[in-house]
Amino acid sequence: MNIDGNAILVIENLSMVFGGLRAIDTVSMYIKKGEIAALIGPNGAGKTTIFNCITGVYTPTEGTISISRNGTASGEKLHKIEGLKPNVINQMGLARTFQNIRLFNKMSVLENVMIGRHNSLKAGIVHAILRDSHTKEEEQRVIEESYEILKKLNLHMYVNEMACNLPYGAQRRLEIARALATDPFLLLLDEPVAGMNPQETKELEETINIIRDQEKVTILLIEHDMSLVMNVSERIYVLDYGRLIAEGSPLEIKGNSEVIKAYLGE
């Protein structure tokens, strides 16, 4: 594959087979540092499955997935990540949200984000039992950091609410906040505006831009809401029946007849 630019995620000839079904069929794609890219396609095209392969939920049948935190152009080598455990992959700097919201429902909003910060803390069992001043400081710090993250996503007014009591749109944003808390360099969003009304969708659009610009986090998103996709993304990959059928800028994709036929309609 021919990479044009500073790639931080490179997928080569990825295939995923379930029983007899080829859900992903030799897909190759890459994500450039600092961009907002989108992955679209009809239902059941394999978008979520690609996310699952990247984040270690599935081990791909064939192909490689590699990352490079600073980008290939910096001279940094690519690290293969396929087949690693989800928590290891997350620690390497990839974070995701889920198509069906998976918050820790019975924990507060603050705590959800604190869980995201888990790996930036050190205190183990012994520290927990002794609770020395260092550990106390650390706990104090994580609360403050978490609050800062909530503020960025405009969730700070809910800080002490139980996650399950939040409005739907806020829950989606909390998932993003929680993912951001793990300090990723690449954020994978699976249908971030599904179930949101147009007003909320607009707000999230802004948030996504802010995350990219201020936090310097690269974003890859899956979405069926074309207004969002076309507004925020710089590059779009289109998947159909597990195969890549198009790649390009929003304008190019909008005009691509194959994409119109398979996906966009009209």
Binding site: T55, G56, V57, K85, P86, N87, N90, Q91, A95, R96, F98, R102, L103, F104, N105, K106, M107, S108, L110, E111, M114, I115, G116, H118, N119, L121, A123, G124, I125, H127, A128, I129, R131, T135, E138, E139, Q140, I143, E144, S146, Y147, H156, V159, N160, R178, A179, A181, T182
Partner: protein, 430 residues
């Protein structure tokens, strides 16, 4: 209208009474005895009206109770009596003087217990406290980790046998060297904790990817294997005969009569209970505890947050095992005699029951549940042969009318005090 519903309820209850009369007929009214290979049946007609009337009454009350129970949570909590009482009490206990005072009273009571109530009650309390340690330990695994463990008695056995072996194998050399064998207890206590922890880690390593009941059954299997090894390796473990005459703990070189020894062990176990509560509370309320909480809620999301599930589960198993090990040593010291019968599957189930009835995950719950489960049958003794029957009934009643447990968990939630905003303070929560 009202009297008519009451009437129809009564008719229904009588219907139920009839149903129970039929249902229980073969077992209650008929009685079998086998003589010369032939089953002889006698009829106890006298029971028939009793069964009918008792089940009619019970069924009527049961319906009422269930209805009341169902509508209980409809009420706004702040308007219920129990809430009002609770909040008044809480108000009192917020007062530092009262808080200190009541802790002091409790402490004085606990400390003076052996002198107030005598040896029998002290002994019973020791048994109950041993179960409190077990319940708190298992609560880490089941309540915090969300892992159903049906083989917990194995770690209890490891602890008890650590002490037993120490006595059996090192005891003679202690005696010949002229050292008081009472020292062995103090060596066994930390050693058993460590060995049980190692067992916990070793046993859980291969099985932690299992979920739910599969994990439960595999821990059950481990528990049973440990017991079988203890039972069948007679040369080493004493087999079914067990290990006897285990020394009581050393107390400044004094030989203690059973009465004094009971008091002494009582104090030891009280200190251990306090230690256990302290450790469990700290862990629950830490980074590790938070991760366990999240793991119980959603394993997949938890992993996506970079949390290593296996490591966390391992920690819970190891910690749980540690406390079981310690409790085992105390058991061996109290009974001075151990055999595999004290570590059956039933024992694991009892500890599990203690924490569920107390309130899964709740520390006061584990304490209350363990006390209840161990004290009830003791104080049900006057009920003689009806004891276990009534015990079973009590379990069901408690769990149906307090299905989240008697003292359900109120997790301390991490909160952020917005008024202080950036010079934020971490807060004690709700």
């Amino acid at each position: 209208m009202k009297s008519r519903t009451l009437f129809s309820e009564l008719v229904k209850a009588m219907g139920n009474g009839l149903w129970f009369l039929i249902l229980l007929f073969p077992l209650m009214i008929m009685k079998v005895s086998v003589v010369g290979g032939k089953a002889l049946i006698t009829f106890r007609w006298g029971f028939a009206p009793v069964v009918f009337i008792v089940s009619t009454i019970l069924s009527f009350l049961w319906k009422r109770a269930l209805m009341w129970n169902e509508h209980r949570q409809d009420k706004i909590p702040s308007e219920t009596l129990s809430y009002k009482v609770k909040s008044v009490l809480q108000g009192y206990f917020k007062n530092p003087v009262i808080k200190k005072l009541s802790t002091l009273i409790l402490l004085v009571f606990v400390v003076s217990f052996p002198f107030l109530f005598g040896m029998y009650h002290t002994n019973v309390m020791i048994t109950a406290f041993i179960y409190v340690i077990l319940a708190l330990g298992l609560n880490i695994v089941v309540g915090l980790g969300g892992l159903l463990n049906l083989g917990y008695a194995a770690f209890f056995a490891v602890g008890a046998y650590t002490y037993g072996f120490l006595w059996k194998y090192a005891g003679p050399s202690f005696i010949s060297a002229g050292i008081d064998t009472g020292w062995l207890f103090w060596i066994a206590l930390p050693l058993a904790g460590i060995i049980a922890t190692i067992f916990g880690i070793l046993l859980s390593l291969p099985v932690l990817r299992l979920r739910g009941d599969y994990l439960a059954i595999i821990t059950l299997a481990f528990g049973e294997i440990v017991r079988m090894v203890l039972q069948n390796s007679g040369q080493i473990t004493g087999g079914a005969t067990g290990i006897s005459l285990i020394p009581r703990p050393w107390f400044f070189g004094m030989k203690l009569a059973p009465k004094q020894a009971a008091v002494y062990i009582y104090y030891i176990v009280v200190v251990l209970v306090i230690f256990t509560i302290y450790v469990v509370r700290r862990i629950e309320d830490s980074r590790v505890g938070r991760a366990l909480e999240a793991m119980r809620e959603d394993e997949i999301a938890c992993q996506a947050m970079g949390i290593d599930l296996v490591r966390n589960k391992l920690i819970t198993f190891a910690l749980g095992a540690f406390f079981a090990g310690i409790a085992g040593v105390v058991l061996a010291a109290q009974t001075t005699y151990i055999n595999p019968d004290s570590f059956t599957l039933w024992e694991s189930i009892m500890v599990l029951m203690a924490i569920v009835i107390g309130g899964t995950g709740s520390i006061p719950g584990a304490i209350g549940g363990a006390m209840l489960l161990k004290l009830l049958p003791e104080y049900f003794r006057p009920l003689a042969q009806y004891r276990m029957l009534i015990y079973g009934v009590a379990m069901i009643l408690v769990i149906i009318f307090k299905s989240d447990g008697l003292l359900p968990r109120h997790r301390k939630q991490y909160t952020f005090d917005e008024k202080l905003d950036s010079n934020a303070s971490a807060g004690a929560g709700k």
